[in-house]
C-alpha cells in the first residue's frame, strides 16, 4: 500500500498531463452534447445528443478526476459513480424513448428530415 502511494506521488506530472487531456475531451463532449440537445431537429435525434453527454462526456471527466484522486477511497467513489452512470443512463434514455414511442410520437426520417406518410 505504501509503495503504491509513493508511486502515485512520483507520477504526479504524468497524471496532471493525462487528466488535463481527459477533462478537456470530456468537457468538449459534454458541451457538444448540450449543443446537440438544443440544435437537433426532433425529439428522437436529441436523444442521441443526450447520450453523448451521458457516456463520453461523463466518463471522460470522471477518468480525469480519478487520476487526481488524493486517497484510494476517493478513487473508489469516483469508480462507483462511473459504474452507476454506465448502468443507469441507458435505462433512463430507453425509458424516455419507449414512453414517447408508446404514445405515438413519430420520428423525422431520411436525409430530408420529414415525417413519414401513413401507408408508406
Amino acid at each position: 500500500m505504501e509503495a503504491v502511494g509513493q508511486f502515485w506521488a512520483d507520477i504526479e506530472i504524468l497524471r496532471n498531463i493525462l487528466s488535463w487531456g481527459f477533462i478537456l475531451a470530456g468537457g468538449i463532449a459534454v458541451v457538444s452534447g448540450a449543443i446537440g440537445i438544443v440544435r437537433f431537429p426532433d425529439f428522437y435525434t436529441r436523444l442521441h445528443a443526450a447520450g453523448v453527454t451521458d457516456t463520453g462526456g461523463a466518463e471522460l471527466i470522471l477518468i480525469g478526476m480519478l487520476l487526481q484522486a488524493p486517497t484510494w477511497i476517493v478513487a473508489v467513489k469516483i469508480f462507483f459513480i462511473g459504474a452507476f452512470l454506465f448502468f443507469t443512463s441507458p435505462v433512463a434514455t430507453h425509458a424516455i424513448a419507449h414512453a414517447a414511442w408508446m404514445v405515438g410520437f413519430k420520428p423525422l426520417e431520411g436525409p430530408e428530415l420529414r415525417y413519414k406518410e401513413d401507408g408508406e
Binding site: 496532471n16 487528466s19 488535463w20 477533462i23 478537456l24 470530456g26 468537457g27 468538449i28 459534454v30 458541451v31 452534447g33 448540450a34 449543443i35 440537445i37 438544443v38 425529439f43 436529441r46 436523444l47 443526450a50 453527454t53 451521458d54 462526456g57 461523463a58 471527466i61 470522471l62 480525469g64 478526476m65 487526481q68 484522486a69 488524493p70 486517497t71 476517493v74 467513489k77 469516483i78 462507483f80 459513480i81 452507476f84 452512470l85 443507469t88 443512463s89 435505462v91 433512463a92 434514455t93 425509458a95 424516455i96 414512453a99 414517447a100 408508446m102 404514445v103 410520437f105
Partner: protein, 87 residues
Amino acid sequence: MFAAATAAIIAAMVLALVRAFAGPSLYDRILAGNSFGTKTVLLIGLMGFLTGRPDFLDIALLYALINFASTIAILRFFSYRRSREEA
C-alpha cells in the same frame, strides 16, 4: 483544470435548461431534465475537488441514483395520467 471543466459543465447546463424551457413536447423536457441531472452529478464532484473536499463525491453518488429514480418516477406518473385520460 477543475475550474475550466466546471465552466464547461455550467455552460452545458444552461443549454440543457434552454431545451427544457423550449420544449416543445413533454418528452423533450424530461430528456433535458435527465441530462441536467447527469451534469449536476459531474458538477458536484468537480466542486468537491475545487474546494479540496472530496467528501462531496458521496453527495454526487447519491444524486446519480436519485436522478435515475426520479426520471423513471416522472415517466411513470405521466403514463398513469395518460391512461386515466384515455379511460
